[in-house]
Amino acid sequence: MSVLGNTAISFDDEQAMLLEYATNFCDAIGVAEIRARLEEPQPYPADTWQQIVELGWPGIGLPEDLGGSGIGISAAVPVIESMGKVLLGTPLMSSLLAAQLVLRADREAGESVVAALAGGAIGTVAALESEDWDTSAFTARVDANGQLSGAKRFVANGLAAQWIVAAVTDEHSKPALAVIDASRVPATNYRELTLIDLTQRAVDMSLDGLKATQVIRGPGVEAALRDYRLLGALLVAADATGAAASCLRSVVDYLTTRKQFDKLIGSYQALKHPSVEILNQVESSRSFIYHAATLVGAEALDRQAEVACRMAKAKATDTLAFAGDRAVQFHGGMGFTWDCDAQLYIRHAQWTQQQFGDAQHHRQALAPLLLDA
């Protein structure tokens, strides 16, 4: 058996239609609309979330009997990739991941919150407690009465979320999920973050004094957290892949219109060949995300799926980091300005790198999977 393992990619007509639809939906919004909202409380147009709800996208990966779409979570890949293309920072990703986490931890116990999320309530997961992605034991706690304590960091869409799923340690020192109704969280528990990427929103959050609406415990929690991290890595990879492709387009547009020393600058190999390198990396990222999408399903992610998700993340966010960096450079003086879209990509790159672990983090996790088998 080759160390390359499973190399399947399948993509059926239904998925192709979804990709096409999502692409058109996002293109109709466009980067300019996002740029206009960078310094607004909400980084996407007012009616966008309602449209997404009407399209049923928050139900992706959720069972029909809970209001879900009935299609697999892999369908989130083309949707999130398309959103990445226009840097559309809606809460769809955090909502989908919150729902997956609860569903996988304990479907029965989580029914009501999953149904709410499937119906368009905004959700998020509060897992990290420091800058270190690797902390798997949580210092945040829940007691037998659902009373919470501790603090969480980097909670995506924390202010917009109606349901916050916090990963905590319970009174038996086991991991548990505390489902928090945001309507009962005092504003002072949140601290909105100033992010390098203005297309995103996040908070640090104190759990002190809060009470969980519901606490999900049991053997499924740990496995669900693992799947959550892997699916999170995959969806961020899809986002980064889309963004990197757009970033490349913006570079190509500039290189085919800007002249210097009387030549289109795109004719210089010093710009041309690195652009090809970006393309090749985008193509690799795209292969990885759709390969991972082929392997993830409703069941607990197996080893091949884990390898696929980690490779996708390891490749895609490095790709965007490289693309964003070169985009600024290749736009010359223009690239150094706020008004050039290159800044959006280079900033988004820093955000996506930091979500669910950077490339090195995932390669370190891949090493035993690939080399010690």
Partner: protein, 400 residues
């Protein structure tokens, strides 16, 4: 399972058995990993015998007509054979210019007489073919070929020099690109395409020693060499078009090639196997964190290329940058290969300084030779620098 699928499955089983039963024993010298690496008579004799055996068993040129040495069956059968030959790691079918360039071309556009004259000898390995496209002063610039072919009665008179003629010193025929009309307005229109015999007066080959220390190419000199006028393929001036046409057969049996394993792919699994016995700082090399990270990166790179080959077949996932995957494939694979082999030498520690011929060299010096040989792919068929231009211009639409 339907009948056709079942039949193909059975065929595959039969092929595997045959290959396992007939795979030659290690001859005691390093075998070429591609047809460009045949550097000695013993290698040639060995490979000729092997190809003949494969053909005799009915496993080569299966989709070519029976009357010319083929089996006349669906190319799918040949594809199965080719897959299994790679999987079973048997030696290559070395007559590649015949099997994959000249043969399919003759099958496509040749006359009945040409088919009868050439095809069977290609399959049986009796007639070795070579290619005469590149010239010393215009390596990457095929359209500028200067070798002249002048019509003179019943012959063409050829003058000029070709280079990188693989198997040039063994070949009976050459597919030759030569200039019949130096005055043509577009330089491409002055070129013509010939199936030229090598055993005529005025053709001399000079072996070229490669940086590996081995042979495998010749420089081929034409000095008033006369070849019969009916060696011309198509019409005068169609040389460029026909040369471009030959490139399409690269895609294998289903595109018209005779099939056969053309080269040994060296993959990351081979490297992992080699390194499993190397120690570094007293520990297995594969436990070193920095080595592990580099190996993970190589695995990812190779996997990305494999996945890309799969994705290339899915239109909905390739319309973003159309043709990016096929047009970049050579660049990506050959550059990956070069770096992987370079890494393989380094990772061996002290053993990396040994070479083919040293009894303690790992794998007989396989990786060292493979690294040096890797440049034939990053230079030949358009250097990596030119490949990058092609991708930039044809996929991204960047200006020349």
């Amino acid at each position: 399972m339907n009948a056709i699928v079942k039949e193909l499955e059975e065929f595959r089983t039969e092929v595997v058995s045959w290959l396992q039963a007939n795979k030659p024993a290690d001859p005691g010298f390093l075998l070429p990993q591609s047809f460009m690496e045949v550097g000695s008579d013993e290698q040639l004799d060995f490979l000729r015998e092997w190809q003949h055996k494969v053909w005799n068993a009915g496993y080569l040129g299966m989709a070519w007509p029976r009357e010319y040495g083929g089996q006349g069956v669906d190319p799918l059968y040949q594809s199965i054979v080719d897959q299994e030959m790679r999987r079973q790691a048997v030696p290559i079918c070395f007559n590649v210019i015949g099997l994959g360039w000249a043969g399919p071309l003759i099958n496509d556009i040749g006359t009945e007489e040409e088919k009868a004259r050439y095809l069977k000898g290609i399959l049986s390995a009796e007639d070795i073919w070579c290619q005469g496209f590149s010239e010393p002063d215009h390596g990457s610039d095929l359209g500028n070929a200067r070798t002249r072919a002048e019509r003179d009665g019943e012959d063409y008179r050829i003058n000029g020099t070709k280079i990188w003629t693989t198997l040039g010193n063994y070949a009976k025929y050459m597919i030759l690109l030569a200039r019949t009309n130096p005055e043509a307005q577009r330089k491409y229109d002055g070129l013509s395409f010939f199936l030229a015999p090598m055993d005529v007066d005025g053709v001399d080959t000079q072996p070229i020693r490669k940086l590996t220390g081995e042979y495998g190419f010749t420089e081929t000199f034409f000095t008033d060499a006369r070849i019969p006028a009916d060696c011309l393929m198509g019409a005068e001036g169609e040389g460029w078009k026909i040369a471009m046409k030959t490139l399409q057969y690269e895609r294998g049996a289903e595109a018209g090639a005779a099939g056969g394993l053309a080269f040994v792919r060296i993959v990351i699994d081979d490297l992992l196997k080699e390194l499993s016995t190397v120690t570094r700082a007293g520990q297995p090399l594969t436990q070193d964190p920095l080595m592990r990270d580099q190996l993970v990166q190589l695995i990812m790179e190779e996997k990305a290329i494999s996945l890309g080959d799969k994705r290339a077949a899915i239109p909905a996932l390739t319309n973003d940058f159309p043709f990016a995957l096929p047009l970049s494939h050579k660049l990506r694979w050959t550059e990956y290969t070069r770096r992987m082999r370079q890494f393989a030498i380094n990772a061996q520690g002290g053993d990396g300084a040994l070479y083919v011929g040293d009894e303690r060299a790992r794998g007989g010096g396989f990786w060292q030779r493979a690294y040096l040989n890797s440049f034939s792919a990053t230079i030949g068929g358009g250097t990596s620098q030119i490949q990058a231009n092609i991708v930039a211009e044809h996929v991204l639409g960047l200006p020349k």
